[in-house]
């Protein structure tokens, strides 16, 4: 499986200098940037990256492209508003933050497992259709339901707690909170991909029939993968609702659902670092594309970028970078590197489920 990740794997291998450099940069980042860059760019990218990471885990290791990951995150956000405190005056049971967040994450992860249970009996392209249908149905449901989700208005005034005398919505603490969550899950996904469970999941992705006849419970593995990815998405969803302070049907609309897919594909579905690269690119585009074109036309830009990536670099920016690096290495010296390049390009097919 190591060849699967190719270059990014070597680069971010345990103890490699690049990994330490990256970590050091992420740690001193708030010190060298202003509040806007720390909060709106840094923390936001990390949160979106974490949601996309949950998609990357399902798609990259499990071969299941689920479009409902943002819906899981959104449900967690709604649950925070329902069980915790909000300023709208609907629901809001006022539970303490640590009970609410754990409970919200757990329920949302269960919802994710439920989505998995619905879609695992079908394969490939069906998964996209079913999860997209669930995501859209959820959007219409929260929009028309006033009893639980407060309909069109949604909820506002959802605040992170003040612990140890620190208000966690301040840019720097919030950045570190997001960074910790992102790093934790990134590490967990890497660890999980090398565990027995992760290896079985990847084998199921490559050949479900063979794994079934070897005695593996294919459906169960997939549902568990959905549950685990649900935990990641839901935790990021809690952060996202703290980041925004409010949640409404617009937060779970189809546009945002697709954004998460765009981010994951943009960065690359091969390695857990991909979604974060995609998220940074996305957030930067979102914030600075307006300098080049009309703000209204952002979707055209992101759609075109997405189209180009899908057409010309199916492995995303990560794959593009790998290709360039490969070419540079190959032009310098020939021999063993070429064989490695072949393995890398062959593995490009393995996301598609057969």
């Amino acid at each position: 499986m190591k060849t699967q990740h190719g270059i990014s794997e070597q680069l971010l291998a345990k103890g490699s200098p690049s990994l330490w450099l990256l970590l050091a940069f992420l740690l001193i980042y708030p010190a060298i940037s202003n509040d806007f860059f720390t909060f709106q760019i840094g923390a936001y990218s990390l949160i979106l990256g974490t949601i996309s990471l949950s998609l990357m885990m399902l798609a990259g290791y499990g071969g299941m492209v689920s479009l409902a990951q943002l819906t899981v995150a959104g449900l967690a956000g709604y649950l925070m508003a329902i069980f915790g405190e909000n300023s709208v005056g609907v629901m809001g049971f006022g539970w303490p933050w640590w009970v609410t967040s754990v409970w919200a994450i757990f329920l949302a992860a269960l919802f994710s497992a439920f989505i998995g249970a619905i879609s695992v009996r079908t394969e490939g392209i069906y998964t996209i259709m079913i999860t997209l249908a669930i995501a859209v149905a959820f959007y219409f449901f929260v929009r028309q339901n006033y009893v639980l989700f407060n309909g069109w208005t949604g909820y506002a005034g959802i605040e992170p707690p003040t612990i140890l005398g620190i208000y966690w919505r301040n840019p720097v603490p919030f950045y570190f909170l997001s960074l910790a969550v992102a790093a934790l899950f990134c590490g967990a996904v890497v660890y999980c991909s090398r565990s027995t469970f992760g290896l079985a999941l990847q084998a199921i992705r490559d050949n479900p029939r063979r794994m079934r006849s070897l005695g593996y419970n294919v459906a169960l593995h997939r549902v568990i993968a959905y549950f685990l990815s649900g935990i990641i998405a839901a935790t990021a969803g809690v952060l996202l609702v703290w980041f925004n302070g409010r949640i409404s049907p617009g937060s779970v609309s189809v546009g945002v659902v697709i954004d998460i897919l765009v981010i994951a594909v943009l960065g690359g579905l091969r390695h857990p670092i991909g979604p974060f690269i995609g998220a940074i690119a996305f957030v930067l585009l979102e914030n600075f594309a307006i300098d080049l074109i009309d703000r209204e036309r952002f979707n055209t830009v992101i759609g075109l970028v997405f189209l180009l990536v899908v057409l010309y670099s199916p492995d995303g920016l990560l794959g593009l970078w790998g290709k360039i690096r490969m070419r540079m290495m190959n032009s310098g010296k020939t021999g063993p590197n070429e064989t490695r390049g072949e393995i890398g390009s062959k593995s490009a097919d393995s996301i598609e489920t057969s």
């Binding site: 619905i118 259709m129 249908a133 859209v136 979707n299 055209t300 997405f306 189209l307």
Partner: protein, 335 residues
């Protein structure tokens, strides 16, 4: 019919009983206790016909979606976008020429052409790679939705259908009998009945096209075995383009029909994408009959949900989808 009776006697009896009950509900004058139980008859019959017409509209949209998938294994997530594009183009043409039917035809042709171009320039390059094709359709729908928003802005448009399609007709269904003994008949908008009739015509035409013409034969052969079809000397790429044109054209046509029944606004593309997704998941991907059954079920479920459980309407649609997936993952008519 005979075979079905012999094969599933219990089901046949059940279906007959249900049909008889439905006929009684529609044509009889309701007794008091029934009104106490589920409300006025007018609501029920209206909801029923609304559901049928909405089902007809959904069939128009979803049949193209399922046709394209059936042959090319291409899940076209830009299908809702084509619906909206058809509605806008139809609106412009109808306004310009003052002829609603010209708008209908223009939408069919223009969207059909755009589908053909998509097949020619995009999907042909990545045949057999369904994930990438799907991602490309998503990208196209993002861009197209944004460009349509730029051109037609967020305003809601309303068609003006021809005079004689406007107004309402009196149905031969008694709603209540007044104390004076005079019977009150139900009224219903004529246009919506026309939608139902049109979708039936399209359904029959599609069936004839697929089962009685040479091109239809090629398409059916292609659904069963693409390689064999091309090996026997048929230009498969041409067949693909034809199917994409018809499928996309149907979405465009549905745009005008649906836009007239309701209205045209940004966001409608998502609504009809969801409708086509759920319809084909329930009915079975790739089957026209499945699309008809699925459209009927979803149309009825949505209208009854709206009338009787206003804030939980979507949940009913969702539950139907979950139930079908649990019992028959390939859909009712899926293979």
């Amino acid at each position: 019919m005979q075979r079905f009776l012999n094969k599933h006697p219990t089901w046949a009896v059940f279906i007959l009983l249900a049909a008889a009950l439905l006929a009684w509900l529609v044509f009889s004058v309701w007794p008091e206790w029934l009104i106490d139980l589920i409300g006025r008859k007018k609501t029920f019959v209206h909801t029923l016909i609304n559901g049928l017409t909405l089902g007809g509209l959904y069939f128009l949209v979803a049949s193209g979606f399922t046709l394209i998938f059936g042959l090319m294994r291409n899940v076209n997530l830009a299908h809702g976008t084509m619906y909206l594009l058809g509605a806008y183009i139809g609106y412009e043409v109808a306004e310009f020429s003052n002829n609603w039917f010209l708008g209908l035809i223009a939408a069919f042709i223009a969207v059909g052409l755009s589908g053909m171009l998509m097949q020619l320039f995009v999907f042909r390059r990545m045949e057999g790679d369904d994930l990438r094709q799907t991602l490309v359709t998503i990208a196209i729908s993002i861009i197209a939705a944004d460009l349509m928003l730029a051109i037609w802005t967020g305003t809601t448009y309303q068609f003006t259908p021809p005079e004689w399609l406007f107004g309402s007709v009196t149905l031969p269904i008694v709603s209540v009998i007044k104390s004076s003994g005079e019977a009150v008949y139900l009224k219903y908008p004529l246009y919506r009945l026309a939608v139902l009739v049109l979708s039936m015509i399209v359904g029959i035409a599609l069936w004839l096209f697929l089962n009685r013409t040479r091109a239809g034969m090629m398409i059916r052969a292609g659904v069963n075995d693409r390689e064999m079809l091309s090996a026997s000397g048929v230009n498969v790429q041409l067949v693909f383009m034809l199917v994409f044109a018809v499928g996309a054209g149907l979405a465009g046509l549905a745009g005008v029909v649906g836009g007239t029944a309701l209205s045209i606004a940004p966001g409608e593309d998502i609504r009809y994408l969801l409708a086509s997704l759920v319809v084909v998941i329930v009915g079975g991907l790739g089957s026209i009959t499945g699309a008809a059954i699925g459209a009927l079920i979803i149309g009825l479920a949505e209208q009854f949900g709206l009338a009787y459980f206003p804030t939980y309407g979507v949940v009913i649609t969702f539950l139907i989808m979950v139930m079908v997936l649990a019992i028959r993952p390939q859909g009712i008519m899926g293979k």
